[in-house]
């Protein structure tokens, strides 16, 4: 008898607690490890503090943070979205949410941007999240890819780099040739000028293909245009680096960023390699790099006077469709807090660039970051096509084969044409059906 009364009381107490918790509005926030924050280097430290600040301001809210690892985390988030269990708020690049946008799963944020916001955000930051006329995320940070070069090796081999970081393809080849040499005199070349990698969804070498004006898709994204003579000549220039000028680490196209990083940053067997801006802080870390002096440069241009080009990725906080307007307002406020000027200034720890003008002076005293900022000012994004992952996959594989010398540059860009055009046509028909 006593026992059942006890259980009953416990149940009542539990019920009371769950009810009191149920009154709180729960926001699901999913985040990845960022920079080390706080005395113990917690990579989720920043977001946790932001959560505390927000919960203090809004005691009726409880924010549940899901800490994702980089390994598998993207897939996990994707599965959550695909099974109808999306987070309420998380950081994405535009390309990752095209399909969800088309399914009506994302909240457009135009109406929540104040006049100040619209003026404060860089134009290409807002454009990076524009799709079908609306903006779909609160822009947070931008990164971009650029060429990194080992200045110590340059000095050793008498290579003079362009002051403004802009060089033509021929100047680039000359420099690479000087940087390809036999270090220990055993008759085999130990150091190569250039090393790169070709992996799906990574555009590390695409600026070469873009060099002469080649573009994968037409402006309206309805037609495949990568088999144009300009694209082929661009790819040919990339391929020639390895096959004609022999300045490229053999087989690197099939190796992967990890191997190339080892070669470039640790072993200094590669003098120049393409990385995202994150590499700037990594190369200054004695644990991750051999500690040599380095510079960042633009990708080479076709001829003098041409505008350089590179790829940028922008990340912004996205809010999934909410049924409860009160919750939606809170999510918006949270997103705005996370992307406000003060927080964007903290991106200095993450070697990435703020999307707000009011926060962009953080790198004033850092010449390399300033140079990087200038480089990504010329950045473009990949075409925001809903089937881009499929298109990119097919192209990456062909480009890889061309770089390895197994097929010609022309074949690499013409072979996938039929398949890709079919994907484009089907996608266009699907969009129209809706």
């Amino acid at each position: 008898m006593n026992k059942s009364i006890k259980t009953f009381c416990i149940l009542i107490i539990l019920l009371f607690f769950t009810l009191s918790f149920a009154q709180k509005i729960e926001i699901n926030l999913t985040e990845f490890p960022r920079w080390s924050y706080g005395p113990h280097g917690d990579k989720f430290g920043w977001i946790k503090e932001q959560i505390k600040i927000f919960e203090k301001k809004h005691p009726e809210v409880k924010i549940k943070l899901t800490e994702l690892p980089w390994e598998g985390g993207i897939e996990k988030r994707q599965i959550s979205v695909a099974s109808g269990n999306p987070p309420d708020i998380t950081a994405y690049g535009l390309n990752e949410i095209i399909k969800p946008i088309l399914e009506g799963l994302i909240e457009p944020v135009d109406e929540y941007l104040t006049e100040f916001d619209k003026k404060d955000y860089y134009e290409n930051a807002l454009n990076a999240f524009k799709y079908q006329g609306k903006i779909w995320a609160f822009p947070w940070l931008t990164t971009g890819i650029m060429l990194f070069i080992n200045e110590d090796l340059c000095k050793q081999r008498g290579v003079v780099l362009p002051k403004d970081g802009i060089w033509t393809y021929d100047e680039f080849v000359d420099a690479m040739k000087k940087l390809t040499f036999d270090k220990d005199g055993d008759g085999r070349i130990d150091v190569y000028g250039f090393g790169y990698y070709v992996t799906p969804l990574d555009q590390a070498v695409w600026p070469f293909i873009y060099m002469d004006g080649g573009r994968p898709l037409s402006e309206d994204m309805k037609t495949y245009t990568f088999d144009s003579p300009q694209a082929i000549s661009g790819l040919q220039k990339l391929v020639d680096l390895g096959l004609k000028h022999n300045v490229v680490l053999p087989g690197c196209a099939a190796m992967g960023p990890g191997d190339i990083w080892q070669a470039f940053a640790k072993e200094q067997r590669v003098a120049c390699a393409p990385w995202g801006s994150w590499a700037i802080s990594a190369l200054r870390d004695p644990k991750k790099s051999a500690g040599f002096k380095f510079r960042v440069l633009h990708y080479p241009v076709s001829k003098k006077g041409d505008k350089p080009i590179t790829f940028i990725g922008a990340n912004g906080f996205v809010i999934f469709k909410q049924k409860d307007t009160k919750k939606l307002k809170l999510c918006v406020e949270l997103a705005k807090q996370l992307t406000n000027t003060e927080n964007q200034k903290l991106l200095i720890h993450y070697a990435s660039f703020p999307t707000r003008k009011s926060a962009s002076k953080i790198y004033e005293t850092d010449p390399i970051m300033l140079a990087a900022q200038k480089i990504i000012a010329y950045g473009v994004i990949v075409p925001p096509h809903p089937e881009w992952t499929k298109i990119d996959d097919k192209l990456s594989r062909q480009i890889q084969l061309a770089c390895l010398g197994e097929i010609s540059a022309k074949d690499a860009l013409t072979l996938p044409k039929i398949e890709i055009q079919r994907i484009l046509d089907r996608s266009f028909m699907k969009k129209n059906k809706k």
Partner: protein
């Protein structure tokens, strides 16, 4: 038995094979003890030049109390032990039936069990996720434990093994009037111990090393299993190989210990059969 004279050759051959087999494992441990600055692949080092515990320190000095390593360890242990014990028992029961009994639908049922293994697990992820969600088991260890208990490969393996057990012992017991359950517990199970321990080790290792499914169903860091938790320590771009291998080493130690423990039962079981 065979080749008594050439016993030395056999041992040498096996030793060479063992070295080849163990090489990757050896390098894993070497890398675990190599400081991050020294992890260069060329020339490959047999013995770390400046061995350090730094990588292990990184793992053990997780500061956020929610993320403590011991909690991850405990979660992994709970999952692995529960699944192994339950799955072994449940599979053994079923395997006995398939191995020894004649009943209607036996073949079909057995093939049904086996055939589900042939579906690539990846596409089962979403239906299983939806199921777990419906059962309100998201973000609990049950979401990992329950789906792992029915183990067709376990039933398959034990059935094959049980089929080889001689009938006479069983017949003798039946004549003596023993029920099926008694025969199962007193005769069949003891004779199946080598297979059971092999299956047990295998099941434990599979559960212990599982990464993707626990990652998908868990969201609170304090519920993370070891493999998932260790992954959150890695950075996005530059993989910290020392940390990775240290984590893998730490994760493999309990299994190695368990293996040696199980080995004894395995051997005892073998002796019981031979005797």
């Amino acid at each position: 038995m065979m080749w008594k004279q050439n016993r030395l050759i056999v041992i040498i051959l096996l030793l060479c094979g063992a070295i080849v087999a163990l090489l990757p494992t050896y390098w894993m441990f070497v890398t675990a003890f190599t400081p991050e600055e020294d992890i260069i692949r060329m020339p490959p080092r047999m013995i770390p030049q400046r061995p350090t515990f730094e990588n292990f320190r990184k793992i053990f000095l997780l500061t956020d109390p929610k993320k403590s390593l011991s909690k991850w360890f405990l979660n992994s242990a709970i999952v692995s032990v529960t699944v192994t014990l339950t799955s072994l028992f449940v599979s053994a029961l079923a395997a006995y039936s398939f191995a020894r009994k004649k009943f209607y639908g036996k073949e079909i049922l057995f093939y049904l069990f086996i055939s589900t293994m042939m579906i690539p697990g990846e596409i089962l992820t979403i239906p299983m996720f939806l199921l777990v969600k419906k059962l309100n088991l998201l973000d609990t260890l049950w979401a990992i434990i329950l789906p792992a208990i029915p183990a067709p490969f376990g039933i398959f393996m034990l059935r094959q093994f049980m089929q080889d057990i001689p009938y006479d012992i069983e017949e003798a017991a039946r004549i003596d009037g023993c029920s099926d359950l008694t025969i199962f517990f007193r005769i069949i199970l003891p004779l199946t111990i080598p297979a059971l321990t092999a299956l047990g080790i295998f099941t434990f290792i599979t559960q212990w090393n599982m990464f993707l499914w626990p990652l998908i169903v868990l969201s609170s860091p304090e519920k993370y299993t070891l493999q998932v938790g260790l992954a959150t320590l890695q950075e996005q771009h530059v993989r910290d190989y020392g940390l990775l291998m240290a984590g893998a080493s730490v994760a493999s130690i309990p299994i190695i210990i368990l293996f040696f423990v199980f080995q004894r039962y395995f051997v005892r079981g073998l002796a019981a059969i031979r005797g």
